[in-house]
């Protein structure tokens, strides 16, 4: 049963051929077997999940209409608020925080009759690329336990790859869905900024953060997208149908894009390891075989994306994380001598190194005398980067490149040098600055049997087309059917 797609499982449950309770039991048997090693979850909710599964089964038995994810066990990243359990962001500062409400996406999962089995580990406050910055636990890659799962949504990716849920949600601020999807051999989609409500998503970089799905195949990512997309008046940056109606990502998924034109930037592929390069080249050849045309382009400003990102994201983070003050919720230092220490000691005791580093950097670039030189400059470069995407989409339907220069690296390999970790995000970060959607789809394995991801971008609010393009490749190659 664990190998069924979400679509198949949902149909089987809705038709009464499979009980949701049995699917939930199967998932928890898998969690009990592997979680000790993989460490994908911060918390799991067996009792709540079984209760929900029983209620879905009862609805079906009574002949009631059920939702798009009826009875399907799913997981979410632990930076999405839930009215049950804790919402920790994998931070000691929120270790005991119990949100009084559900995030917009959690409401949508509930309305679709999904069963949430657990909340996934991540880099603290989504700051990182390996999940090693979690303040609570370590997650390893299901394909090789000495390797990182990627990050920051490492737990969400590992849970799907390890068959400990059927699909999951992550968030992506600079690659945090696509890179772990690539490292763990699953499909990961970062939607257009504004497509999915951020209401109840703990903020990191508010102009960059976006929630998106992990699925074992493109179809499951499309199904999850159909569930979570749409306007939410509680998130003023979520976009309504007046600007961009929500497209059904599943209905035409198997319809190839006729006359597909693919833009590639030759030096990007050349910047990846030999094995990643070879896999990307082979994928491009496969598209050519399907009649696609490859257009070589330049994106001259992408080289500046990491620099612009670490100004903008940290500036936004320093402001967003000011709310952790030891007063309203979260950790408070034991014996403050004055109100200043309530803030400064509470924060110093409970934030991890990377969070402190980014708050410091963001505070610095926003401080008087440096604002124009760093922050304003970065916002201007952001505009140039968006221009690179606009120009590319005038010449082609989509852009393709690697997700990451390498496959999953070893645990501890990059933790000593923050710059090294940052530079590995070169291919993913620009899409967040430009707001466009991007997907990682499995496109092979390296000699160590570690998954490689192909990254595809399309213009804003065209997730349906993006997934159709990804599906064209997946249909022919079936890398996604391999299991760790």
């Amino acid at each position: 049963m664990l190998e069924l797609s979400c679509r198949q499982l949902r149909d089987d449950i809705a038709a009464g051929r499979v009980k949701s309770v049995d699917a939930v039991e199967a998932v928890f048997a898998q969690i009990e077997k592997h979680e000790q090693t993989i460490g994908a979850f911060v918390s799991t909710f067996k009792d709540i999940a079984l209760e929900k599964a029983r209620s879905v089964d009862a609805k079906i038995a009574a002949g009631e209409k059920v939702g798009l994810l009826a009875g399907v066990p799913v997981a979410i990243k632990d930076n999405m608020c839930t009215s049950f359990g804790a919402t920790t962001c994998a931070s000691k500062i929120l270790e005991n925080f119990h949100a009084p409400y559900d995030a917009g996406v959690v409401e949508k999962l509930n309305a679709a009759d999904a069963v949430i089995v657990g909340k996934c580990n991540m880099d603290e406050f989504a700051m990182g690329s390996s999940t090693e910055n979690s303040g609570l636990k370590q997650t390893v890659n299901p394909w090789d336990n000495s390797k990182v799962p990627g990050g920051s949504s490492g737990g969400s990716a590992a849970a799907v790859a390890g068959r400990m849920c059927f699909a999951s949600l992550g968030s992506d601020t600079g690659g945090s869905i696509r890179q772990p999807a690539s490292f763990c051999g699953v499909v990961g989609l970062k939607p257009t900024y504004g497509r999915v409500s951020r209401y109840g998503l703990v903020a990191y970089g508010s102009s960059l953060d976006q929630i998106g799905p992990f699925g074992r195949d493109v179809g499951d990512a499309a199904l999850m997208m159909n569930v979570i997309a749409g306007h939410d008046e509680r998130d003023s940056t979520s976009v309504g149908a007046d600007i961009a109606p929500v497209a059904d990502c599943l209905v035409d998924l198997d319809k190839p894009v006729e006359g597909l034109k693919i833009a590639v930037v030759p030096q990007f592929n050349a910047g990846a390891s030999d094995e990643v390069q070879a896999a990307i080249t082979a994928a491009l050849e496969a598209y050519k075989g399907m009649g696609a045309e490859i257009v070589e382009i330049e994106m001259p400003h992408i080289d500046y994306a990491i620099a612009a990102y670490y100004v903008i994201a940290t500036a936004e983070a320093s402001s967003n994380l000011a709310r952790y003050d030891g007063v309203h919720y979260g950790h408070r230092t034991a014996d403050p001598k004055d109100y200043f220490e309530v803030y400064s000691k509470s924060r110093a005791e409970a934030f991890g190194d990377e969070v402190k580093r980014r708050i410091m950097l963001g505070t610095y670039v926003l401080s008087s005398g440096y604002y124009d030189a760093y922050y304003l400059k970065a916002l201007k470069v952001r505009n140039l980067i968006r221009g690179d995407f606009t120009a590319a989409f005038e010449k082609a339907d989509c852009i393709m490149m690697p997700v990451s220069p390498t496959t999953a690296f070893g645990i501890g390999e990059k933790t000593d040098d923050p710059m090294q970790m940052y530079l590995a995000d070169i291919y993913t970060i620009a899409a967040n600055l430009a707001g466009v959607p991007g997907v990682s789809v499995p496109c092979g394995f390296d000699s160590g049997n570690m998954p490689i991801g192909l990254q595809i971008f399309t213009p804003a609010f065209t997730e349906d087309k993006l997934l159709r393009i990804a599906r064209m490749y997946e249909k022919e190659h079936q890398w996604h059917t391999k299991v760790p």
Partner: protein, 102 residues
């Protein structure tokens, strides 16, 4: 290598950030921030004189709604996570000292 951010500056930034850091952390972060800022200066290679800053990518700007009260959290829910509370209030140490004359 001279640091772009020396330890005194790092201490000032830590204060603005409300982070009570140890000497060891100050030392480490002044080095880390210096090398990150050095990398960020790459942005100066680009001439952006005629480029508008882009704060976000959406075709929407101010979003207003009618000013009507809606269901919200109860006071109990709002303070439920407080580290320290007194009835439905957040409890904090004294902000002004006894000799402040306030």
């Amino acid at each position: 290598m001279s640091n772009k951010i020396d330890e005194a500056q790092a201490r000032q930034v830590a204060k603005l950030s409300r982070l009570d850091l140890t000497d060891d952390e100050i030392k480490r972060f002044s080095g880390d921030l210096s090398s990150i800022l050095e990398y960020i200066e790459k942005l100066d290679e680009l001439n952006t004189d005629s480029v508008e800053p882009l704060a976000h990518c959406l075709p929407v700007h101010n979003v207003f709604r009618a000013d009507v009260p809606k269901e919200s959290l109860t006071a109990e829910q709002a303070v439920a996570n407080a580290p320290e509370r007194y009835d439905n209030y957040f409890k904090v140490p004294k902000v002004l000292d006894d000799n402040s004359g306030a």
